[in-house]
């Protein structure tokens, strides 16, 4: 299709963001509900524009922006993430004194960055997207201006993000030297040959992996994650756990999956990534064992999940990767929405002790949170199990059995810390009085949508798998 069609979703999102900014500047609504509604509308509009291109595809700017089926799948995941974030934030922000209209504009801008990242075949454009995303993310993190923790998180994120970008761009420069191009396929092709690529290219690829390692929080580049996740407002944390991670893995998959593991040098890349994956799963799970703050615990859980996703990349299992991300969208947002519900005006309850007795006091909230945690722990018949099953099964077929054993060990450890939260909710007597606001219909909408997603994807994912297979075909083509 024409240039314009590929640009429409992006234009809708960016236009929406600017409109919200202008409205906030000149209209200054006291109640930000219209802005939230507008953001939802924008997400829906972009989704409709994307859906129209399914199976057709479109490209703009001489192929620099290409909306193929895979890009559409990822965009839809991002749009859902943004919609969930807006719904969670709707009541949450005013109650936590962080109610500014810019939130919605920044969120949409971050979304546009994500969309650029997954829909460009050129690494420079990918980096552009990444920077748009990052700058908006720094601001979103520090949204609670009076909160020390939030400010610390924002600064930390900013500094670490800057580092990561430096690694990334230097790596790109080296890659360009090796491949004479920054087209992802051309770059990957230089490593696919029998000699496994030049040393220059290898160095570049390693630097790029480090850069992305920071962004998607792989151990040992994860140190910023718990602080940022804990300091950011809960809806923003939920968004961080899904959006940037999905985009980062989309790029990493396209870059690394075609790299064969036969030749000497490219085999090294696989070995290094395998070690990173193993470390990420184990270290994150072990550290999570000691957390008493549930938000921080979920941050470590999100790091551990990055490890599972890296296994999917190594196994070359694109369908498994996208399926895991789709399931993770629902599990993670469900869990964070439940966490956001544990709050009242000016106060949030994230300590493990606060969760004691919640299961009896707020049965619906407790049950839903327990279901998301159990799904994260990977118990069937919920989505989390099936997602891990596909990834690990593909990895065993590729001969990555040791890595799978590490992953299963990490799952066992993770079962302990997820179930510990459930223990507190259902099996402990309350130690302090926790009163939360329950009048949050939008939040419960998110919770139930996520429940539906976790169950549907866990039990009858049939059609979604077909969609994902088609998307993968467009990616490899």
């Amino acid at each position: 299709m024409s240039d314009a069609a590929a640009l429409v979703p992006l234009l809708v999102v960016v236009g929406g963001a600017i409109l919200i900014l202008l409205l906030e500047a000149f209209w200054r609504p006291v109640d930000k509900t219209p802005l939230a509604a507008l953001a939802l509308l924008v997400a829906a509009g972009a989704g409709a524009a994307c859906a129209r291109l399914w199976g057709v595809g479109a490209s703009a700017f001489g192929g620099m922006l290409r909306l193929d089926d895979a890009a559409i799948v990822f965009t839809v995941i991002f749009l859902a993430a943004v919609a969930f974030t807006v719904l969670i934030a709707w009541k949450y922000l005013p109650r936590q004194n962080a109610d500014c209209g810019e939130f919605y504009a920044l969120l949409l801008l971050a979304l546009s960055g994500l969309m650029v990242m997954v829909s460009s075949p050129n690494l420079i454009v990918v980096v552009l997207g990444l920077e748009i995303l990052s700058v908006s993310s720094y601001a979103l993190t520090g949204l609670k201006r009076d909160d020390d923790r939030a400010s610390e998180a924002a600064i930390k994120y900013f500094l670490m993000g800057g580092f990561a970008s430096a690694f990334l761009i230097f790596g790109l420069a080296l890659l360009y030297g090796a491949a004479q191009s920054l087209d992802i396929r051309a770059v990957a092709a230089t490593f696919a040959g029998p000699d496994g690529g030049s040393l220059l290219g290898l160095a570049g690829l390693v630097l790029v992996i480090i850069g992305f390692g920071f962004k998607i929080a792989l151990v040992p580049f994860h140190m910023w994650t718990p602080d940022v996740y804990q300091g950011a407002p809960t809806p923003v944390t939920a968004f961080f756990a899904v959006g940037p991670k999905a985009a980062g893995f989309a790029v990493l998959f396209r870059l690394v999956a075609p790299v064969g593991d036969q030749a000497f040098r490219s085999a090294k890349i696989h070995a290094v990534l395998g070690i990173l994956a193993g470390l990420t799963m184990l270290v994150a799970s072990l550290t999570a064992l000691r957390q008493r703050n549930v938000k921080r615990l979920l941050a470590y859980s999100s790091i551990a999940n990055a490890g599972y996703l890296l296994v999917a990349v190594l196994a070359g299992d694109g369908v498994g990767l996208m399926f895991f991300l789709a399931v993770y969208l629902f599990m993670s947002f469900g869990a964070f929405a439940a966490l956001a519900a544990m709050s009242r005006r000016g106060e949030e309850f994230h300590d493990l002790d606060d969760f004691a007795g919640i299961g009896a006091k707020y049965p619906w909230l407790g049950a839903l949170f327990a279901i998301f945690l159990i799904s994260l722990a990977g118990f069937p018949p919920l989505g989390g199990f099936l997602a891990k099953y596909y990834i690990f099964s593909a990895a065993v077929q590729k001969g990555l059995t040791p890595l799978v054993l590490v992953g299963l060990l990490a799952s066992l450890i993770s079962a302990y810390y997820y179930l510990r939260v459930v223990v507190f909710m259902y099996m402990r007597e309350p130690v302090r009085d926790v009163e939360i606001d329950v009048d949050v219909p939008a939040l419960y909408l998110v919770l139930f949508l996520c429940l539906y997603g976790v169950l549907q994807l866990g039990l009858f994912p049939g059609r979604i798998l077909i969609v994902l297979k088609r998307a993968l075909a467009s990616l490899i083509m």
Binding site: F379, V396, Q397, L405, M427, P461, G462, L465
Partner: protein, 516 residues
């Protein structure tokens, strides 16, 4: 009518409906759950009558595509699983009825978890696809986790976490083995299948079998539990509420021994043969150790728990005898153990509700005050100890017969289970029920209520029935068991053709092929 699916998913449907019931209407909640489990029991009785005793393979099979990659919804019943299904559906109404006065708060959740547990257990026994089996196997864990954790005793959180983590550690290794089997099957045939019968046709290299068997075997050995993986059991049994203990001992443990019969042994016969001495010795240690531990327990409930370790040891020894008598005996003894241990836990629960203690020293002379209860309890004790005329005798004698045919020394040692069993059970019965009334509180105990008799009576009837007319039951097993043993004995043996390359970890490059 898809009878098996109906049996599996009716409890699940009931659990979902229960969510919308008012939480303070105790009678309504119990009535609904009880009626539902009775319907499920009736449906499984239908299963019994429809079951063709002459056919060896699975019957009433339902099979539909589900998730691709060889993952199918595939259920069927055969002579091995038929009675385990019946045992489950038979015990569930009893368990619910026995909980009436024991469970005071959060009744609705209790009933929901009980029904979910029933679905999980029935799914485990009826699945014929490895993936489906694993899904039910793990799904059954969650309700039990809540049942122990919410309604259990003082150390319930510790006990339930231990139970979950032990079971999960085993089952995750089994999952890795399932991945490997799936991948091997694909490499050998070019198609995916996790159907247990397709998988059993694959002849694997013994070295690979060893690994895979260890993974499967560990999962099942933890569940049974076989010595030395039994440490979760006393904790879980003692802390669980009465209903949970009954189901745990009577049915959940059987998932382990069933797993050996259905999966571990048919899939990896060479590895089983290789490990047979080690496995049998573990069983013997379990028999003797469990029995000795039971002798020194101060708490009636942990005495019954350790008696389970001992009895399950005999069952597993019979399973590993790999002959028709031993296998039949093992299945029969699984049912017996389900009934007798279920009855013993029921009796302990009845005592506990009156005395709020389970320590043996706090009791004495109860039979004078509670004569009806005493009679029921005695039957349960004698059934567990293997008195002729009751079910336990038939099971134990068949098991021992099978073990004897396989190895005489094992049989001699295995008789210890009967001797020790009689010792600790009768000693406990004597201390608790007979002699003078030592504790004045006992005088105030009311005898069994009608509800409690209604719980206990069906079990006692069945004990006599199984002890007097075992053909009612074994008649439906014979064809399956004979075919199972024949397949095991008559299988094609493979040997390593040439020196294997040095082991580079756990590689999947073994020679595998499909016989015609």
């Amino acid at each position: 009518m898809p009878l098996l699916s109906l049996i599996i998913f009716l409890p699940l449907a009931g659990a979902v409906l229960l969510i919308f019931f008012p939480r303070d209407r105790k009678g309504l909640l119990y009535g609904f759950a009880l009626a539902l489990t009775l319907v499920v029991f009736a449906a499984s009785l239908l299963l019994y009558f429809r079951f063709d005793p002459a056919a060896a393979g699975p019957q009433l099979v339902e099979k539909t595509a589900w998730l691709g990659y060889g993952i199918q919804y595939h259920v069927g019943v055969d002579g091995i699983s038929l009675f385990l299904v019946l045992l489950t559906t038979f015990l569930l109404p009893i368990v619910l009825l026995s909980s009436w006065s024991y469970i005071r708060d959060r009744i609705k959740e209790y009933l929901i978890f009980m029904l979910l547990l029933e679905t999980g257990i029935l799914g485990v026994f009826l699945s014929l696809n490895l993936f489906l089996f694993y899904v039910f196997w793990e799904a059954a864990l969650i309700p039990m986790y809540f049942l122990i954790g919410i309604w259990g005793g003082k150390r319930r959180v510790y006990a339930t976490m231990k139970f979950v983590l032990f079971t999960m550690a085993g089952s995750l290794l089994m999952l890795a083995a399932i991945f490997t089997l799936s991948s091997l099957f694909f490499k050998a045939t070019g198609t995916y299948s996790l159907n247990v019968f397709d998988q059993a046709r694959m002849v694997l290299n013994p070295r690979l079998q060893t690994w895979l068997f260890l993974a499967f075997g560990l999962a099942f050995a933890i569940k049974v539990p076989m010595f030395p993986f039994h440490t979760w059991l006393p904790d879980a049994h003692v802390e669980a509420p009465t209903g949970g203990s009954i189901l745990l001992a009577a049915v959940l443990l059987k998932m382990g021994s069933y797993g050996f019969l259905r999966f571990a042994i048919p899939l990896f016969p060479d590895a089983v043969e290789r490990f047979l001495p080690a496995l049998s010795i573990l069983c013997l240690i379990g028999i003797i150790y469990g029995g000795l531990m039971a002798l020194v327990q101060k708490d009636v409930k942990s005495l019954v728990a350790y008696s389970s370790v001992s009895h399950m040891g005999l069952i597993m020894l019979a399973v590993f005898s790999l002959n028709v008598e031993g296998t039949t005996g093992a299945i029969y003894q699984m049912l017996n153990h389900g009934l007798s241990t279920g009855a013993l836990f029921l009796a302990v629960g009845i005592l506990y509700e009156r005395a709020h203690t389970r320590l043996i020293k706090d009791f004495g002379g109860v039979s004078k005050i509670m004569p009806v209860f005493s009679a029921f309890f005695l039957v349960a004790v004698l059934s567990s100890a293997g008195l002729p005329g009751l079910n336990g005798f038939i099971g134990e004698i068949t098991c021992l017969y099978g073990v004897f045919a396989a190895n005489k020394i094992y049989a001699v040692l295995a008789v210890m289970t009967v001797i020790l069993g009689a010792a600790y059970l009768l000693w406990m019965f004597q201390m608790v029920m007979q002699g003078p009334v030592t504790n004045e509180k006992i005088r105030a105990f009311p005898d069994m209520s009608l509800r409690e008799i209604a719980c206990f009576a069906p079990i006692v009837v069945l004990m006599f029935w199984m002890g007097i007319a075992p053909r009612t039951f074994t008649g439906k097993m014979d064809a399956t068991v004979t075919a199972y043993v024949q397949k095991l004995k008559g299988r094609e043996r493979v040997f390593v053709q040439k020196a294997v390359p040095p082991p580079a970890g756990f590689r999947l490059d073994a020679q595998e092929r499909l016989p015609r």
